[in-house]
Amino acid sequence: MKLARNFDWVIVLCAGILTLVGLSIVFSVSHSIGDAHAEWLRGSYFTRQLLWVGMGLLVMLVGFAVPFRVFETLAYAAYAACLTLLVVVLLLPAKGETQRWFVVGPLAIQPSEFTKVAVLLVWARILSGHRADPNRPRTLIPVLILFLVPFALVLKQPDLGTAMVFAGILLPVLFWRGFRGLHILFLLSPLVSSVLIIYGENVTHNPWPFGIFIVLILVVAYLRRAFLIESVSLVVANVGIGLFLPVFWNHLKPYQQNRVTNFLDPDSDKLGAGWQVIQSKIAIGSGGFGGKGYLEGTQKALEYLPAKHTDFIFSVLGEELGFVGALAILFVFSVLITRALMAAQKMKSEFAATLCVGIASYFAFQVFINIGMTTGIAPVAGIPLPFISYGGSSMLVSSFFIGLLLNCAARWSEY
């Protein structure tokens, strides 16, 4: 009874709208082409997606019905299982250029997606421990190790995008648990330095941004009243990266270097990602304010849009439903994310609150990177748009997260 009273219908509504929109766009994508091949595709993509939605519903129910404390207990088991799957997928023979999938019957399963759930569960469990303090090494180091292992495994696949999602979930979660801003600078600045160095050396051939960044770090450290030792180690760490990264970089194979520069700068990869982005921009731009109308998109029909049913599905959405449609989708996502953050503030259980923040970050990060990629303002990373992109693993994970959100919201008063 209490569960029913506290049930968050808004979240369910948002997820439902997004799923329905997703299904119709997947249908639209496979609708366009008129030959036998397309018939088969339509049959397979749309019905398979329907199947995934059905399974997603089940998973959501499980995520909702089982009290979150059970998931807290199961966190490490889930984490271990996911790591095993990640290792196994690396050991299997590669499919094409990457090793991301298991093929089980007609379905492809991507363990890195499920790892997103597992890492969030273990972080939430550690950070909500009664003596946990993310500013102390005793708490921070285990969290970082639990982050780095799957991060490295996914990077090995190689899937830079998904590896970044782990970081995208971790930072807000740490911040929520009271991580000092200066410490976030510690974690984030080496990453920014690396990007600036690689970008500066290989794309723009301009070392100044890195120099300016070092100065900026000093200014921020001063303003945040950092201890001298902290400021010095910050600068040493970043300058050290500046010295050693180029050496490491030269040891990478050319195709590995290309993978990184293409990720950071799709325009440099005119034969691949750059080509995708321009086609995607044409599709979205030509949609205009009101869109060309459902099933009326032309760019998708011409086979110009690559990955149009998965990572680039937003291009089709933007083309057919226009600015209005895109805005509506963004609005629904914002409501969903806001509800999750509101729920987090209400929780009595630290574990549940941390979960809600993590889930909100997951949705926010994926939506931003995916739409940013299709519109040409974010790197081209193989990140799906939750509920909308075709793909089983992503659908199951998103549905499970919704289930967890409902679970926490309904049991907000429990510890």
Binding site: K253, Y255, K270, S286, L330, A360, F368, G372
Partner: protein
């Protein structure tokens, strides 16, 4: 943070869909982007004087862009009225093509001549499905000469595409054998693309520079090969019908001057795309033309190995080189077995020097009786027989060096006797070596005791010359070295020497003949040598299969080669010929603009 990110997207969407909507809509409605992949020309292969021995040529083909079989049939029917064309064969080829590649444009004329091309171009309106495509094709003007060294290119396999991490697209060519494979990373050009904006009615609005990149040609290989001498050596060996192999190298650097493996094949066939029947013919040939006898064929080193045995004997003080050790009456008894010298009537009293010069087997049988298995194995390893030479070719085999452990494993701890060493001492037992191993023995004697690493590529264009490590051969120094040099010189310049009849009056040559007994036919003929004997520059090793005594067959080939190589004025002439590039037309064709003008590349939407 969240608000900021979403606001950025909002602004971006506003820009794309509202502010710049007109432009994108125009583009989507009227124009298409068409892209054309531009092949990066493969680097050339040149010899030591800069002469081009492998280059690229433009190949035109006429393809049918079909959607149904009827279109192909109709096109062929129409064409056959004007162009002689075997329609039955064309359909058979089409069916095979469709089965293998699916819906990919079918090359009706894979090697179209000017007539066909101009006909198709002039009548383009009548043949909507036909298109003329051009691409670069590897050309081996040298045909079969040095084919095993140069290798060949072929179309990439699906596995190559995966392993290349985006370097290759299906239809690209990659090195499949020889230097083409070994130096694929250097030779391969980087493809570019030209993006064109095309209006709905097919007129081009020009290139979109932001989406275009120029192809980058691969880098040229500069070999240490002297191609004139390569051809000459090939022609010398061609006078024998038997399979043969020969290597000539610079004794100081290990740079290979000529390397022949016969019989050979024409690599152009591979660059053109091999037919199954042709490949079947090559593979089914009993003389094995595809087999690289330079690096893959192992033979008993026979009497050339006596130099290794001598090194071991002198280094360990096993014999006194001046003393007559045996009296050779043509046979040698060990237990109840009889070993024969190659000279049935015997050599008479022999010391080490005369035993090498006359290649007396009985003397070396005696050494074999006295020498420990592992002592000889150590010396053979010092000469590199137990491992690969490290030559810059993708496939190479090591020799074989039997040690005590080897025999214990093969026959059991007490399952063998010193008798095995009797055959080993004349290079006839379990010892095996390639021509490349043997030429290194001669080179080590020539250069004062250094085991060089042989190599074909002197340098890659724009990179410094390769300096390879060389190893000291222990024991091959001082009096031992002087002794072996004198003995090898004696083989040629002393009246009883096994190669004396090939002596050149104006050039001192040091050599060693060999006759490898062979269970499957006549003896193989070995010869290794270096020259000039007093200041050695090059060493060579020659093997002619089933040709009899080394002194009879291989030694005269060496003589003729050396006579030409050291002919006064020859090398100066080669240096001059460097000034004129081999085929000027091809150099021009490699410039990017010319390639584009010629329309090199494939259209993909």
């Amino acid at each position: 943070m969240l608000g900021f990110g979403f606001a950025a997207i909002l602004i971006r969407l506003l820009a794309l869909q509202v502010v710049h909507h007109q432009e994108y809509a125009q583009f989507a409605r009227d124009n298409q982007l068409q892209r054309e992949r531009l092949q990066g020309p493969r680097g050339l292969i040149r010899d030591r004087y800069g002469r081009v021995i492998v280059d690229n040529t433009i190949n035109f083909q006429v393809v049918v862009q079909w959607r149904s079989r009827d279109e192909v049939v109709e096109t062929v029917r129409h064409l056959s009225a004007f162009i002689p064309i075997d329609s039955t064969r064309a359909f058979a080829r089409f069916d095979a093509w469709q089965k293998r590649y699916g819906r990919v444009a079918f090359p009706l004329f894979p090697d179209a001549d000017k007539f066909v091309i101009s006909f198709v171009r002039e009548n383009a309106d009548d043949y909507p499905y036909l298109r003329v495509e051009s691409r670069l094709r590897r050309r081996y003007p040298t045909r079969g000469v040095a084919a095993h060294v140069l290798g060949y290119v072929g179309e990439v396999t699906p596995e190559d595409v995966v392993a290349g991490h985006g370097t290759y697209e299906s239809g690209d060519f990659t090195g499949k054998a020889g230097l083409e494979k070994q130096y694929e990373d250097k030779l391969r050009g980087t493809p570019g693309q030209r993006a064109m904006e095309i209006t709905a009615n097919g007129t081009s609005l020009g290139e979109v520079p932001e989406l275009s990149t120029a192809p980058i040609p691969g880098r040229d290989l500069h070999l240490s090969l002297d191609f004139e001498m390569q051809e000459f050596l090939d022609s010398l060996l061609a006078t024998h019908d038997n399979p043969s192999a020969a290597v000539v190298l610079d004794v100081k650097t290990g740079g290979i001057i000529a390397a022949v493996s016969r019989p050979s094949y024409d690599p152009n066939e591979f660059a053109r795309g091999v037919s199954t029947s042709m490949l079947g013919g090559l593979l089914g040939d009993p003389t094995k033309p595809m087999f690289n006898r330079i690096t893959q064929a192992r033979y008993a080193p026979a009497s050339t190995f006596k130099i290794v045995v001598t090194t071991a004997a002198l280094q360990n003080g096993l014999v006194d080189p001046g003393r007559v050790l045996t009296y050779c009456d043509g046979t040698h008894r060990f237990g109840n077995r009889v070993f024969r010298c190659w000279k049935e009537e015997g050599h008479g009293g022999m010391n080490l020097m005369s035993a090498i010069i006359n290649s007396c087997d009985v003397y070396f049988y005696r050494i074999g009786e006295m020498m420990d298995v592992d002592v000889l194995a150590a010396s053979a390893s010092a000469y590199g027989l137990d491992r690969k030479t490290g030559i810059d070719l993708p496939i190479e085999v090591a020799g074989n060096v039997p040690t005590r452990r080897y025999y214990d494993k093969r026959f059991g701890k007490r399952g063998w006797t010193q008798g095995l060493m009797i055959n080993n001492a004349i290079g006839q037992g379990e010892y095996l070596a390639t021509v490349l191993h043997v030429v290194r023995i001669a080179a080590a004697v020539a250069n004062g005791g250094w085991l060089v690493q042989p190599r074909f590529v002197d340098h890659v264009d724009g990179e410094p010359s390769v300096e390879l490590p060389r190893e000291r051969v222990p024991g091959l120094e001082g009096s031992t070295l002087t002794f072996i040099r004198r003995a090898m010189l004696g083989v040629v310049d002393s009246p009883g020497g096994t190669a004396h009849w090939t002596e050149l009056p104006w050039l001192k040559v040091a050599g060693k003949t060999g006759t490898a007994q062979n269970s499957r036919g006549d003896h193989h003929s070995w010869y290794m040598a270096y020259a000039p004997a007093d200041d050695p520059e090059i060493a060579l090793a020659i093997l002619v299969e089933n040709a009899g005594h080394g002194g009879d067959v291989s030694a005269p080939v060496a003589r003729d080669f050396l006579a030409e190589y050291f002919r006064p004025g020859r090398r100066e002439g080669s240096v001059v010929s460097r000034v004129q590039p081999a085929s000027p037309a091809l150099f021009d064709s490699l410039s990017i603009d010319r390639l584009r003008a010629a329309g090199v590349g494939r259209m993909t939407p």
